[in-house]
Symmetry: C2
Subunit: 406 residues, 2 copies
């Protein structure tokens, strides 16, 4: 008996019945090679958005428990249809919801965390020779309430199942061929990476390369599960995400990303006293608003400006909170800007190579692109610039580091 | 605290978001009166048929387990949306799937039977003052596989919940105002009945008056649960279905029904020996094909003809089985006819009044409608006639028994 593979097919791989049949063929081709297979599927195409649309026609602020009840039906439809398509090809398959296979989560509806997976039922079916199909994105609380794991949650389901079942590899099928040095739509010379480290992928994923959900990469890193991101339409190898290997060190910068969905908020003249920033950001965190970059410069007058970015969709809620908080701490005022983009370079090599930041800033300067905010980590440098220069900036930086096709 | 009401809203009551909001208003109006409420809903409009359509695009013979997995999502969508609509009105509501409220069934997928309902979770929520919304039509096996209860299964869910929870009444909301003496589209003078017995409703339901699923009426009868069939669009009393009461005996015939979805099969020259009929019908039963009328006349030649009717959709499967069986028992041959209709009169009063059959046959004869098969029960007389005479026959019989508006 060969080893177990977990395969995940996202919504773009199953937009219609024809594509579901194609997925069934691919799954069966692995079964023929002797693999045990667990297949995780997302909802068909835009189903999740359509269901959310229905909810918002009913009420502007739907209950999160009921939202999970609603949208979890999307994956349930997919698993049943895929099982039928595999049966049609003469192979045994059985579908399960997250609840049925015991993907136990906490009760944070719409963004639940997996606590435990009871693999007994899956293993029983695998041992009977069946292909097991599991609804991605969903779980169940110990009270039997249905939960969902947040956007991209099927990735998390796949990695968690790979860990729980001891899978050899976790294959993520998508509509792109792998992870690229930049978005090919923006930088036409962008090159597919054959391998990349978890750390780099994490930065890429959280910076807007929408190939994999960041939490799933974190979990893969924690348990050292190799992920293979590849196209569901082609028979080509994609990008392997695994722990850092020797060869990777040759590459200084792995990719350039851009995120146009953020907005910048600045609080002016915040009193420069201990505990003030903590007070502001605690209020924001209590509203479940994610903060990305935070920049605070040295104070020369006893007051300082604090800037940070939030997701565009959270801007209005964030502003309300920030305005209240800024009054409490006696800051001067609050401004915001939605017309920004965040451009970043990512690479493990940065740790041992100096001058990367200078080259990036220089590339932007040559193109007369002003930098509004800068934030750096060990393997990433991000700059906030005007949104209208975003694509130009990506191309300039991509060229600067020679990331294009050779 | 006032008593508990179970309300069921069928697909025709919730075809769109606007109608869901109307249902929410009606539910809340009962909550305001102080009732405890359990609301059972079907899938939105044609959702179930659409899902079945998807399945049949994948394969002509989908697995029944996977079909249940697929179509049960329809009700799950409805319960979540209705809960949200009730929240919008400022009332507390919580939705549950069949599995979540412990509607335990056997494993006969697509036509499961309810074995047990664990009411603990519903009662907890009712005691917290919440309106409890339950997905109709579905249950779960002890192995946690999702099952469905067959067409009209939400009716069964409602009655079963009424019994398990000790509800005062079970209200079935639909797109008609109640149970009529005949289909008003066929007999324009048809009158709404204010009350009817379980027995009569059973005959009506199984004879094509598609107001209630027969199994739900059987269960209501068994546990003596009054059912109130009424319109979800009007604020009017409908028809109460309950055990036989004195006043009912005045009415001889309650209604005239017609079923155009059946086909007739005849087996010629079946040897007239004990056990032959049993052998034929056992083979058919094994294929899960429901037989309706069976007519066999006396034999004068040592061989006899047996005729019976099946649902039109089962005709092809039935014919295959019947042809094999007729060879085994050495019958002469098999014929069939799809162009038939079954017209019936129903009434408790028939038990004590003679001459009903004669009046029915006479009404048909006056209209030159030939009778091809006759079958009678204690409270019903059915005649198979040519399909093209069906509506004319209903009007003639409806008039004969003076069932129209006064």
């Amino acid at each position: 008996m060969r080893k177990l593979i977990v395969q995940k097919y996202g919504g773009s791989s199953i937009t219609d019945i024809k594509k579901i049949k194609n997925v069934a063929k691919r799954v069966v081709s692995y079964k023929k090679k002797g693999y045990k297979l667990v297949v995780v599927v997302s909802a068909l195409g835009d189903t999740t958005d359509e269901l959310l649309g229905l909810a918002h026609k009913v009420t502007k602020s739907p209950s999160e428990r009921e939202l999970d009840m609603l949208v979890s039906t999307g994956e349930q439809v997919s698993v049943a249809l895929l099982a039928m398509a595999i049966h049609k090809l003469g192979y045994e398959a059985i579908s399960f919801t997250g609840a049925q296979v015991g993907i136990i989560t906490d009760a944070s509806h719409t963004r639940a965390r997996i606590l435990n997976i009871n693999t007994k039922r899956i293993e029983e079916q695998l041992n009977r020779g069946k292909i097991v199909i599991v609804a991605g994105f969903q779980g169940v609380t110990t009270d039997r309430d249905i939960t969902t794991l947040g956007r991209g949650g099927s990735d998390l389901t796949s990695v968690a199942l790979s860990k729980a079942l001891g899978a050899e590899t976790c294959e993520m099928y998508t509509d792109v061929e792998g992870v690229y040095t930049a978005d090919p739509k923006i930088a036409p010379g962008a090159r597919k990476l054959s391998k990349i480290s978890y750390e780099e992928m994490l930065e890429l994923a959280s910076l807007g390369a929408q190939v994999l959900q960041p939490r799933s990469v974190e979990m893969a890193k924690k348990f050292n599960i190799p992920i293979h991101v590849r196209s569901s339409f082609l028979n080509k190898k994609g990008t392997i995400i695994s722990k850092e290997v020797k060869a990777m060190e040759e590459i200084i910068v792995s990719g350039v990303t851009v995120n146009k969905d953020e907005a910048k908020i600045t609080i002016y003249d915040v009193p420069d006293k201990p505990g003030i920033a903590a007070r502001i950001f605690k209020d924001i965190a209590n509203k479940n608003i994610n903060i990305d970059m935070i920049v605070q410069n040295i104070s020369r007058t006893g007051a300082t400006d604090i800037s940070f970015t939030v997701f565009g969709r959270d801007l209005n809620r964030a502003l309300t909170t920030v305005r209240e908080a800024s009054k409490k701490v006696k800051a001067e005022g609050v401004s915001y800007n939605k017309e920004i983009a965040k451009v970043s370079v990512i690479g493990l090599g940065m740790r041992s190579h100096s001058g990367i930041a200078a080259r990036m800033f220089n590339a932007l300067a040559r193109n007369k692109i002003n930098i509004e905010m800068i934030s750096t980590s060990e393997i990433k440098i991000s700059c906030v610039i005007k949104k209208r220069f975003a694509d130009k900036a990506v191309r300039a930086i991509h060229k600067e580091f020679g990331l294009g096709k050779k």
